[in-house]
C-alpha cells in the first residue's frame, strides 16, 4: 500500500501509526514536497486482517517473537502454556509498580511482553523498569495493548 500526493506527483512517506484501542488503526503519511499529511483509517475488520498476517504497518520496531501471533491473538490460551527460559545476566530489575502492571497482562502473553521490555531496557542501559519506562517503550516501539 502506497500513497501518492497527486498535486506533487510524489510518494508520501509513512509518519506514524496509532491504535486507539477500539480495533481501528490510523496511519499518517506525509508528502515530502508540500508537507500535506493524510491519514489512513481502517475499520476493525481491516485492522484484524493485517494483524492476522503477522505484519506491522509502519514496519517492525521489535524483532518477531516466537509464537507472536498466537500469543497476541488467541483468546483461549491456557495460563500455564509457557515457561520462559531465564534471561541473560544483567537483566534489568522491575520496580514493584512495574511488576504490578506486568501482572495484569494475561499469562499467555506475559513472558513475551516481559522480554520485549527487558530487551528495550538492556539496549538503553536502563537498570530498572518502571511504569514510566514501560510507557516510553510503548510509545517508541508501538506496543499498543501491551
Amino acid at each position: 500500500m502506497k500513497f501518492l500526493c497527486v498535486d506533487c506527483d510524489k510518494q508520501m512517506a509513512f509518519e506514524e501509526r496509532h491504535l486507539p484501542g477500539d480495533g481501528t488503526l490510523a496511519a499518517t503519511f506525509k508528502c515530502p514536497t508540500c508537507g500535506r499529511v493524510v491519514a489512513m483509517l481502517t475499520n476493525p475488520m481491516e485492522t484484524q486482517l493485517v494483524s492476522s498476517l503477522g505484519v506491522e504497518i509502519g514496519g517492525r520496531t521489535v524483532p518477531e517473537q516466537p509464537f507472536e501471533t498466537v500469543r497476541k491473538m488467541v483468546a483461549t490460551g491456557r495460563e500455564d502454556a509457557f515457561v520462559e527460559a531465564s534471561g541473560p545476566n544483567g537483566a534489568p530489575s522491575w520496580s514493584p509498580e512495574a511488576r504490578e502492571r506486568l501482572a495484569r497482562v494475561p499469562n499467555f502473553v506475559r513472558g513475551m511482553v516481559k522480554r520485549i521490555y527487558a530487551d528495550y531496557a538492556n539496549e538503553r542501559g536502563i537498570a530498572e523498569i518502571t511504569p514510566a519506562v514501560m510507557d516510553t517503550a510503548r510509545g517508541e516501539l508501538g506496543l499498543e495493548g501491551m
Binding site: 501518492l4 514496519g59 518477531e64 507472536e68
Partner: protein
C-alpha cells in the same frame, strides 16, 4: 489532471515493507527447517479415517528404527496428537530462539495447539467476531507458520505434518513452505472415502507434491470396498499398509520401513 502513477511506478522506500515482512517470515520457516531431512504431510480429503492415529504410530515406528522424528499437529481446531503420543501437559519452554517442542512416546518431538489451549476450549481469536470469516483463515495460516518456524525442531530425519480433513491447510502449507511437501494419504476402504481422497490426491498432484503412497486404515471389518487399491492404481502409487482395526505392533514397524 495528468495520469496518476501506478503502484509499481512509485519506487521510494516503503517503510512498512509488508512484502519484506512476509519474505522474512518465509525465510524463518526455511531456516528453521534447514535441519529437517524431509517434510511429509499426512492428509486425506475425508474426515474420520484415522490420519492422526496413523501419524502418531508412524512417527513412533520411525523413531524406534533410530530416526529423529517430529510431528506437527496441523489440525489447529481439533488437535489430538499429544494424547496419541502420550504427552501430558507441561509448559513449553520458550527463549528468544524459539519454543522447545514436547517429547512424546519413543522420543518423538511434537508441537500442537492442544498444548496452548485451555482444556476443552475451542481455538478462538481476539477480534471482531462479526467479520471473522474474512480474517480467520489468515490467522490460522499464521498460527501454522509459527508452529513451523518458531519451534526449535533441531536436526530431524522426518517431520510429519498431521493435516485436518479437507484441502485448505494443505494449500496454506504449500504457500508457507514455498514448495509442496511429500504426501502420504490415508483412506478407509469405502468408495465414499475413495471419492473424497481422490480429490485431495488430485489437488496434491496439481500442486506438485510427490505422492508417497496410500495407507488403507480400518480394514477387515465393517467397511467394505477397495478404495486403497483403486487409488493406488489410478495414481500409480503403492498401498504402503493396510491397517486392521486392532493392528499387531509389527504393522507399524513394517509401515515405518516403507516410508
Amino acid at each position: 489532471m495528468p495520469p496518476i502513477r501506478t503502484y509499481h511506478e512509485l519506487t521510494d522506500a516503503d517503510r512498512s515493507g509488508l512484502p519484506e515482512q512476509i519474505g522474512a517470515q518465509r525465510r524463518r520457516v526455511a531456516e528453521r527447517l534447514a535441519g529437517v531431512g524431509r517434510v511429509i504431510a499426512v492428509m486425506s480429503g475425508k474426515g474420520g479415517v484415522g490420519k492422526s492415529y496413523v501419524t502418531a504410530h508412524l512417527a513412533q515406528a520411525l523413531a524406534r528404527s533410530g530416526r529423529a522424528v517430529g510431528v506437527l499437529d496441523a489440525d489447529l481446531n481439533g488437535p489430538t496428537i499429544p494424547r496419541l503420543l502420550g504427552i501430558d501437559h507441561a509448559p513449553l519452554s520458550t527463549s528468544p530462539s524459539g519454543i522447545e517442542p514436547a517429547r512424546g512416546a519413543d522420543g518423538v518431538k511434537c508441537i500442537s495447539m492442544a498444548m496452548l489451549l485451555e482444556d476443552g476450549a475451542p481455538l478462538a481469536f481476539k477480534g471482531p467476531s462479526a467479520e471473522s470469516f474474512v480474517w480467520r483463515g489468515a490467522m490460522e495460516a499464521s498460527a501454522l507458520r509459527e508452529l513451523l518456524s518458531d519451534v526449535t525442531w533441531g536436526a530431524l530425519d522426518t517431520l510429519l505434518l498431521d493435516l485436518p480433513p479437507g484441502m485448505q491447510r494443505y494449500v496454506e502449507l504449500c504457500d508457507i513452505l514455498g514448495a509442496p511437501p511429500a504426501v502420504l494419504t490415508v483412506t478407509i476402504p469405502t468408495a465414499e472415502s475413495g471419492d473424497a481422497v481422490r480429490r485431495a490426491m488430485r489437488a496434491a498432484v496439481d500442486r506438485g507434491s510427490r505422492l508417497l503412497g496410500i495407507i488403507e486404515n480400518m480394514t477387515g471389518q465393517g467397511f467394505e470396498g477397495t478404495a486403497g487399491d483403486d487409488l493406488a492404481r489410478e495414481f500409480t502409487v503403492p498401498v504402503l499398509a493396510r491397517i486392521p482395526w486392532h493392528p499387531a505392533p509389527g504393522v507399524w514397524d513394517g509401515l515405518g520401513g516403507r516410508v
